[in-house]
């Protein structure tokens, strides 16, 4: 295989992983904008999505299983908001961070006991692990197209939802100015629940489409959450669409580091980039620097 082709191959695998990070990052942003909580348990939604779909797929056709998984995880997301964050809204950031970390651990452990520590995966949506399609001369699995397609469609759908529907606009209003939104008659609490549900559902979708490629494992959430956060920061926290670019960047960088660095240092580059971005440009590549930070409280 010629070097250009190989590079393309790495690039595509980076884009594939990156699109998953992008979904996690969008999930982060949705919840962060609506509630101010940075949900460290975001990666668990992806894991749960994959796990539930794998289980359901034993009984029902694949599309139904995927839809069921998305629905179930979205319900879990809503429940988390109702049970914990609704009551704890006035806690400090530190406390909220710790709560989400605690939830992440508990969900992981619950998954371990509900299922087990085995690696599972959904079947390929079309074809199998050896079938491939040629894109610009590079051989890629059709599942990659499924991932890119699903992520692309859901991101576009989300964009339309936030920009053009009444509910979506209400949600944006909540994040930019909660008091004003409340005065305008928007039920902020419900918007927050919706944000959790939406973000959990999106994560579950990502968990389903990626499952045939990277497998599903009860421990997969933590790493995804951190890389998704890197993507969110890279794009600028609070900006769901910029997170897509952030996610793809992290994915491509990771794929490149697999190519050039020893395998053991696989994740180091992604985390190092996270640190670099957080230190140098905490407002992200596309965000504006925060204005005067004189406000107390």
């Amino acid at each position: 295989m010629d070097p250009g082709n190989l590079a393309l191959q790495y690039f595509l695998s980076g884009i594939t992983k990156g699109s998953i990070y992008a979904v996690v990052a969008i999930g982060f942003n949705l919840i962060y904008s609506a509630t101010g909580v940075l949900n460290f348990a975001q990666g668990e939604f992806v894991m749960l999505g994959g796990m539930v779909a794998v289980t359901l797929a034993q009984f029902v056709p694949l599309p139904v299983a995927v839809a069921g998984a998305i629905l179930a995880v979205a319900v879990v997301g809503c429940l988390l908001e109702l049970l914990f964050f609704r009551k704890l809204r006035h806690h400090s950031i530190l406390h909220l961070i710790i709560i989400t970390i605690g939830l992440s651990i508990v969900i992981q452990e619950a998954a371990l006991h509900l299922w087990d520590e085995k690696v599972r995966s959904l079947p390929y949506f079309t074809g199998n692990e050896i079938s491939s399609v040629r894109v610009f001369g590079a051989a890629i699995s059709p599942q990659v197209l499924w991932v890119l397609g699903a992520v692309g469609v859901s991101v576009a759908g989300l964009h339309v939802f936030l920009r053009y529907t009444l509910k979506g606009r209400a949600m944006r209003a909540c994040s930019s100015n909660p008091e004003a939104a409340m005065l305008a008659g928007i039920n902020i609490s419900n918007m927050r629940t919706l944000a959790f549900g939406l973000s959990a559902g999106l994560g579950a979708l990502a968990g389903c489409v990626i499952s045939p490629i990277t497998m599903t494992h009860y421990e997969m959430g933590g790493g995804l959450a951190i890389k998704g956060f890197a993507a969110a920061i890279l794009g600028g926290l609070g900006n769901p669409m910029a997170a897509v670019v952030g996610g793809l960047l992290v994915g491509v960088l990771e794929a490149a580091s697999v190519r050039y660095l020893p395998a053991a240092y696989n994740d180091v580059s992604a985390f190092a980039m996270l640190l670099l971005v957080v230190f140098v440009r905490p407002h992200g590549l596309f965000g504006a620097p925060a204005g005067a930070q004189v406000r107390e409280h």
Partner: protein, 365 residues
């Protein structure tokens, strides 16, 4: 607070020492002295949590990367005291280092003569490296707030743990074994040998008590107030002439030192260290323990973290170990964000008929 003022300042320390001694006596009487090993380890872990109490509870800065400092301390000691430096032995620098007792000659398990760094020199090197890393990470990280700081420290911890797993010098996934004992002074030696178990338990107790005393002094001084001020209202603290950036960096460094110190002692005590010590889960666990102890309550975090770590090390939670910590975190933060000891203390005071000024006032108004 007011209760504390009325009792003599050293009483809690004497009480604590009393409990420590009676625990050991109890274990001797029941023939369960082997449990002292886990108790000693828990005490070392508690030192890390004490550092977090200072950093998070008092200065209000989050760190999800303190496991990394524990590992940096432990690994530096472990690498230096086990690595064979005999290649240096013939150079003039090597000779000079040998004369200064920095490098010491001994035999490895196969009877070969090797040259390793002395534990004390390794300890100093560990603290030096910790200082360097803490400043390097702390300087940019502490300009961040809340979520960003949490993520930055988490990312730092992950990088350290990946580097440890990926490097052969640190024994990759196996970590390092065969770390020699650390002769502190006279016959006092930090070691895991069964014969020295009681002695090592008391070394750990003494270290914890000493650090508790120093930290308590620190917190009840202008420094402690400055840290609390930064936590409560950073802007106002700055406007009162407190160099908030410098204080945050100093307290971060101090907490990193405590973690590294614990790491060094722990490594000599257990005779080795593995990469899981630097893992994100360990770091999160320290935060969990600090939260469980009430975050700002020095006594609370020490007692709670020692007890919980002990239970966990003895395997009381079985395969639910992680789940227990997760649930604990959620329950405590949800129900008693000030830590379980504070409501308990208030309840005790009520029972004993002692009252807080603030409570009296609330009743009057």
């Amino acid at each position: 607070m007011n209760l504390m003022r009325r009792i003599p300042p050293l009483l809690p320390f004497l009480l604590c020492a009393g409990v420590m001694v009676s625990l050991q006596q109890l274990m001797r009487a029941t023939g369960t002295q082997y449990c002292l090993t886990q108790l000693t380890m828990s005490l070392y872990y508690a030192i890390v949590v004490m550092g977090l109490c200072l950093l998070m509870g008092h200065a209000g800065q989050v760190s999800l990367g303190h496991g990394a400092f524990f590992a940096i301390g432990g690994y530096t000691s472990a690498v230096l005291t086990t690595h064979n430096f005999s290649a240096w032995g013939h150079s003039s620098l090597g000779g000079w280092l040998q004369q200064g007792r920095v490098l010491i000659a001994k035999e490895d398990v196969f009877g070969n003569a090797i040259l390793t760094v002395s534990p004390w020199a390794a300890f100093l090197a560990a603290m030096l490296l910790t200082t360097l890393v803490a400043l390097l990470i702390g300087y940019p990280a502490l300009r961040l707030r809340g979520h960003y700081l949490a993520m930055a420290t988490l990312g730092f911890g992950l990088i350290v743990s990946k580097l440890l797993v990926g490097s052969t010098l640190t024994g990759a996934a196996d970590g390092i074994n065969g770390v020699p004992p650390w002769p502190l002074a006279g016959s006092l030696t930090v070691t895991g040998k069964t014969a020295a178990r009681v002695q090592n338990y008391y070394i750990a107790c003494a270290l914890v008590l000493l650090l508790l005393l120093l930290l308590r002094n620190l917190l009840r001084s202008r420094i402690g107030r400055a840290l609390q001020a930064i936590h409560d209202r950073e802007t106002a603290a700055n406007a009162m002439g407190i160099n908030t950036a410098a204080y945050k960096l100093k307290v971060f460094l101090l907490s990193a030192w405590l973690a590294a110190l614990a790491g060094v002692f722990f490594t000599h005590f257990t005779g080795g260290i593995g990469p899981s010590e630097a893992g994100a889960f360990k770091s999160v666990r320290y935060v969990a323990l600090a939260a469980a102890g009430g975050m700002a309550n020095l006594w609370g975090v020490t007692v709670v973290s020692t007890a919980l770590n002990y239970a966990s090390l003895r395997g009381w939670f079985g395969s639910l170990d992680n789940a227990v910590f997760g649930i604990l975190l959620i329950v405590i933060i949800t129900l008693a964000p000030q830590g379980p000891l504070k409501p308990l203390g208030a309840w005790l005071r009520r029972i004993l008929g002692l009252r807080n000024l603030s409570e009296e006032r609330l009743e009057r108004s």
